[in-house]
């Protein structure tokens, strides 16, 4: 196996007294899709900016393609495609002009960009919008354009900060499909998200972050296996009675999590557990059996949910 593209050891970022990233270690291998999963404020975006050589770490070591971003910022940025959380497309320019000028920022030739832009418009499914002003695009189109823009320099690593936040389900699926294609082409993806379904869909491997620290690391399946049961039973007795009922349910399953609106019961067999609850004479208002997800992993690790 070749050496990792990105290596972080004891990576720390402080803003005055506030520790945004707290001594984290991770590696990203070539061609993998690596995720940073965590709630808002976990330090994911800060980590992304440090990798993107637009923010300087306070301490620790970081190597990207064998270079220190503090010394070789422009050289490293030439290898990266960046898709920021907040769209920063050029509102004064059209769709194709946005792609063109971004390529020019990297110093790419007009001739190269001419064919590249066609390729990217097709990839982003924006051929018909090529002359449209960015303002007129939908949220999903804007995001696809931002991704296409990030690809103009043919980067080795594409960094996506919350790529589908604010998009409707259909737009999310189109976007995921595009990202899969990139992965197939061998582009290394670094993705932050606070959506567990996105992390499960897109990431080969991920770290769960909370309050600037890495809580766990592994593939989505491995994390679920390590930190949760196969199934989860969600039941509601109504917000008044949930906590009182939770006490009675304890001991009936491996683990129990009490949320303000519902109770989560962790078990290898959710249906069997539900039967057991009914036979004990308890009658929840609603019940749902589902497979464990990264949300459950996060709950287990931090005692909190990902999306508040």
């Amino acid at each position: 196996m070749s050496s990792p593209l990105i290596t972080a050891r004891g990576l720390t970022k402080k803003f005055d007294e506030f520790v945004a990233v707290d001594e984290i270690d991770f590696d990203v291998a070539r061609g993998e899709s690596f995720g940073l999963l965590g709630p808002n404020g976990a330090g994911k975006s800060t980590t992304m900016r440090i990798i993107g050589a637009t923010s300087q770490r306070t301490s620790g070591d970081l190597t990207i393609l064998g270079m220190d971003p503090e010394k070789f910022g422009p050289q490293i940025r030439a290898h990266l495609g960046v898709v920021p959380q907040q769209d920063n497309l050029d509102m004064n320019l059209s769709v194709s002009e946005n792609l063109y000028i971004y390529g020019r920022y990297f110093g790419l030739s007009r001739k190269f960009l001419k064919t590249k832009i066609e390729e990217l418009l097709e990839f982003a499914q924006l051929q018909e919008k090529r002359n449209a002003k960015v303002e007129s695009l939908s949220g999903g189109m804007k995001r696809r354009l931002t991704i296409a823009r990030g690809l103009v320099s043919e980067p080795e690593i594409l960094m996506l900060d919350e790529p589908t936040t604010g998009l409707d389900p259909q737009a999310r699926h189109i976007l995921w499909d595009r990202l899969f294609r990139l992965k197939e082409q061998g582009v290394t993806l670094v993705i932050t998200t606070h959506f567990m379904d996105e992390a499960e869909q897109l990431c080969d491997r991920l770290v769960v972050m909370d309050k600037g620290k890495i809580m766990a690391e592994g593939s989505p399946a491995q994390l679920i296996k390590d930190y949760s049961t196969k199934e989860v039973l969600e039941i509601r007795f109504g917000s008044e009675r949930n906590s009182e009922m939770a006490d009675q349910l304890r001991g009936m399953c491996d683990r129990i999590e009490e949320l303000p609106d519902r109770i989560l019961l962790y078990s290898e067999d959710g249906e069997a557990l539900l039967e057991k609850i009914y036979s004990a004479g308890l009658h929840p208002k609603t019940s749902l059996v589902r497979r464990s997800s990264l949300e459950d992993v996060f709950l287990r690790l931090t005692g909190r949910t990902l999306v508040d």
């Binding site: 300087q56 920021p84 920063n88 004064n92």
Partner: protein, 275 residues
């Protein structure tokens, strides 16, 4: 490591002086300005050109009828010829300030254009130079446009007057560099208004419409230290052909403004984007 064209371009600059802040591609920023200009900004440029022309006709010819000729350093000239260079200097200032404050503030805080630019292999000095370069083009266009109106009217008595065009560019450069540096410190849109509060009185009292000798000496001293007064006296000296070493002093004043402005702009952009 994959060597894409973008990587090869960035690697070619390895080891150059200032490679972390400057990639030698401010022309890309310039190109962006040109594309954006084609579609939207030209109206603003047009209004910036029309404004001094309106002042010239309203005051130069309207008020000028009452005033007649005016003495300037021993030279008797029509009132319109007296205020024309001041209007040129002022429009160079206004254009540069508009570009470097409101326009840049929007790109910085609202559209986050610079965040996008600086995520590429560009550096902050590329951005600063490119943006300021655009202000220079505007200064140049104002200069040429205004000259095209006033020269046929006989308001540029001296051949030295042709140098008023590069002077307008220099003035625009100085104001743009300092304006952009100030803008990087602004926290809200409202704070930009402070700049305007400063500009209008400077325009009215910097010797645009009458000589500074009407003011008490201590006030003259303060006004002479202000950049617009420096600009007006530089341009007026050229258009009236009153060439002396004092003009070099005005030129130096703007060179200092440029250096100070660029230094703080680069420093601030680094602090804002590389923190």
């Amino acid at each position: 490591m994959i060597i894409s064209a973008a990587v090869a371009i960035a690697e070619a600059r390895r080891g150059r002086l200032g490679e972390r802040v400057y990639s030698g591609r401010s022309r890309a920023i310039f190109e962006r300005g040109y594309i954006a200009f084609k579609s939207s900004t030209w109206m603003v440029i047009l209004s910036g050109f029309v404004e001094p022309v309106l002042y010239l006709f309203a005051f130069g010819y309207g008020l000028g009828e009452l005033i007649g000729n005016i003495e300037s350093n021993g030279l008797s000239i029509p009132y319109a010829a007296y205020i024309a260079p001041a209007l040129l200097a002022t429009s160079a200032m206004n254009g540069a300030i508009y570009d470097s404050t409101f326009n840049i503030y929007f790109k910085l805080k609202h559209d986050r254009i610079y965040h996008g630019m600086l995520a590429t292999s560009l550096g902050p000095l590329d951005v600063a130079l490119g943006e300021i370069g655009l202000a220079l083009v505007r200064g140049f266009l104002y200069g040429v446009g205004f000259m095209a109106v006033v020269a046929p009217l006989g308001l540029i008595p001296s051949l030295w007057g042709i140098l008023a065009i590069p002077a307008a560019v220099l003035i625009a450069f100085g104001f743009a560099a300092v304006g952009m540096a100030l803008t990087t410190y602004m926290k809200s849109f409202q704070q930009l208004e402070i700049i305007n509060i400063f500009l209008l009185p400077m325009f009215l009292f910097s010797g645009s419409f009458y000589p500074l000798t009407v003011f008490p000496e201590w006030l003259q001293f303060i006004i002479k230290a202000l950049p617009l007064s420096q600009a007006i006296h530089l341009v007026r000296g050229l258009t009236l052909g009153q060439i002396n070493l004092g003009l070099l002093g005005h030129v130096s004043y703007f060179i200092v403004m440029i250096i100070v402005g660029l230094f703080f702009t680069t420093k601030r952009l680094n602090a804002l984007f590389m923190k």
